[in-house]
Symmetry: C2
Subunit: 473 residues, 2 copies
Amino acid sequence: MLADTVRDLTQMLGDQALITDPDDQAPFLHEWRDRYVGKAAAVVQPRTVDEVCRVLRFANDNGVPVVPQGGNTGLVGGQTPDQSGNAILLSLARLNRVREVDTVGGVITVDAGVVLQTLQDEADKADRLFPLSLGAEGSCMIGGNLSTNAGGTGVLAYGNTRDLVLGLEVALPDGRLWNGLSKLRKDNTGYDLKHLFIGAEGTLGVITGASLKLFPKPKGMRTAMIGITSPHEALKLFSLMQEVAGPALTAFEIMPRIAIDFLTRNMDGVRDPLEGEHAWYVLAEISSGRGEGDAEALLMQSMETSFEDGLVEDAVIAQSLDQANMFWAMRHGLSEAQKPEGGSIKHDVSVPVAAVADFLDEAIAAVVEMVPGCRPVPFGHLGDGNIHFNVSQPEGADRAAFLANYETMNERVHAITTRYGGSISAEHGIGQAKRDLLPGVKDAVALALMRTLKDAIDPKGIMNPGKVLADSR
Amino acid sequence: MLADTVRDLTQMLGDQALITDPDDQAPFLHEWRDRYVGKAAAVVQPRTVDEVCRVLRFANDNGVPVVPQGGNTGLVGGQTPDQSGNAILLSLARLNRVREVDTVGGVITVDAGVVLQTLQDEADKADRLFPLSLGAEGSCMIGGNLSTNAGGTGVLAYGNTRDLVLGLEVALPDGRLWNGLSKLRKDNTGYDLKHLFIGAEGTLGVITGASLKLFPKPKGMRTAMIGITSPHEALKLFSLMQEVAGPALTAFEIMPRIAIDFLTRNMDGVRDPLEGEHAWYVLAEISSGRGEGDAEALLMQSMETSFEDGLVEDAVIAQSLDQANMFWAMRHGLSEAQKPEGGSIKHDVSVPVAAVADFLDEAIAAVVEMVPGCRPVPFGHLGDGNIHFNVSQPEGADRAAFLANYETMNERVHAITTRYGGSISAEHGIGQAKRDLLPGVKDAVALALMRTLKDAIDPKGIMNPGKVLADSR
């Protein structure tokens, strides 16, 4: 059966398109943290949209599970097959054409396998901005970003990935191609299909292409690192900066003092950004469409008002692009800087923006009560209500003993999150990691609707089985 | 059978909830232009979400068609039952509570039957902006706006109705209630269900409530009426103004000279806004988050640059709120001002923004060739690529003879629209008016997918049968 699959697909696509050697397959089957490892009958690398459709038709006819994959940077195991070795891993990496850049209309149309950074660069060359930005941008692919509705640091001003999409091209499980590429800002001709596939993590079909919004490039940017006493003040500062800068406030990230300690200790070239120590830090960014002077003025005005209001203890405005980049490197380096500190129990949660500070108070108290001495390092996108609630082990404690609390701590934090009307996966998705948590937190009718949609669009259940929803076969 | 329906529903909801007298039913069954007139076994007016669910469960069990209705202001007959009299008309008008206004988080949660203007007023009272705005706002209801993904004049800066939604509450055809109300800016826990119901025109379920985004109120606004030679220059002016004002450019509407003639002739109190006559007019609006002076400065800078570039022939900036309101009254009064000029053949189309001018050239030439002497009055949201391509009859011609060209002219204009990658319904939806046009213009796979979704979510086909998709029973 597996041999048949490989033989038939080789016949269809040529042997250059298939990888069957386990060593050569390894980069596709090992998730980068080695948290998820899978097996596959073959790694299949189509070169055209038509080949993607033919592979799916074959898989549907023969009941072969298909696991689509972009840059293999996902954090919830959505891109990794199970251990059976029955599935084919469908890599979109060779579908990597930038199809069109429409500067006047502000639309870029790309294949799914285009690396996010390439897409950003293409926009930049056209003097436009593609605002999706996240740590993995050098290797993640836009098809994966779309399939997981990726978040990142640009959400505050530009929205989630789904908000950047004008049109989509999707190969359906039975091999039909839906051409929903569009450059239209307004179109009310029937159900909105694109939003069904965005964020579906490859369980309803394979995104092969997309038309995406481009934005005017900011003409001036200013970044500040701000010392503050608590998330409650951070929330007030956020309101104040939105009031002053409006849509020009393009980032508002928060981190606790311990994050700065971890960074100065574990990351080369990082110095304490402010003179004294502060309980919390905010990384704020202003992007002006008018110019450097305007960005500077907006930031200065925000800072002056917040000093007067006693909201801010200290602040430093980056004096060069290098310094701004260093602030961002600190923010992006946080996960890495946590590693030398031992085991870490992680959560990717969101709550309503107005509830972030209360949530943090409560969740921090809860995990410290649970494991005395543990070191909470909650950081993230306060402006979106999205906190990466990471908890490092107590200093000198046994790593394994601490990590034994993983599930119970997740349960506790997720319960608090849910009580605030929050989400247990703000931006990483469900994949295999959180699949079995969903029934505990999600509206039962929503889950039933998801199952109805899955069964209707992928009746044979070949698309990324066992991800998001349990495999029903 | 019909008598049974009325009896059972009366038993369930009390006789205050049902209207069976034809005269009392008339306001619900006649669309305001009398273009669509339907019959109903009863007009049912539930007072609670639970009652909506019970009505649907009953209808689903008994195969009774259900036509949901908000303010009865739709333009494509989506809210009007057929002539059989088998359906019940489900009015959401009594579900009219504003459930919560969250000023800090910027979220308003409302029942489906809240009138749009009430919603705007509630936001205003909280010193916030709910930016959806359209001609019918005094009577249309938010549930209908959501079900049709209404457009309006705020789309350029704030997006379509779907972009304003954080969460949704929907009664499913079988009476289950999906509680998808949410205040979260980020949530990646499974398929995005809300976008499926938004714009589905009541064919998949009944939206009973929604949580919607609020925005900071602009602190300064300036409106200008600008004389210009052609849509090609208008497109350049649009780029220039976006470059200068960025997201502060909140409206960019276009109309031809003949629209001004119709307005001065047929609308009380309207004077020619500029001294000379110009082939085309642009109504541009700047909304600054900073203040009046800033709005003024942005508009002045745009105008100075565009005069220097020779883009603009003449322009007047409204010197008072009254004058600004008059410019907007002209824009909103255009449909009304067309009426005394005789029959009008209408199109609600959109094309990619960069193609608007070419589209207009071609479509105007086509209709004039078709009916010599006809008077094209294409106006609308150039910034969204959305043009209300209306064509008034030749002066003194026979109304009926002109209107006999309705379908063939629609066909011709839609064919041009489609060739530019456009949409035949940019903001009004499909309803019954354009249902049979869809197969001619829509991707066949998209249509098939829509049918799959309809059959999966509403297997008995009770929800608004014959709207958007043909009734398959």
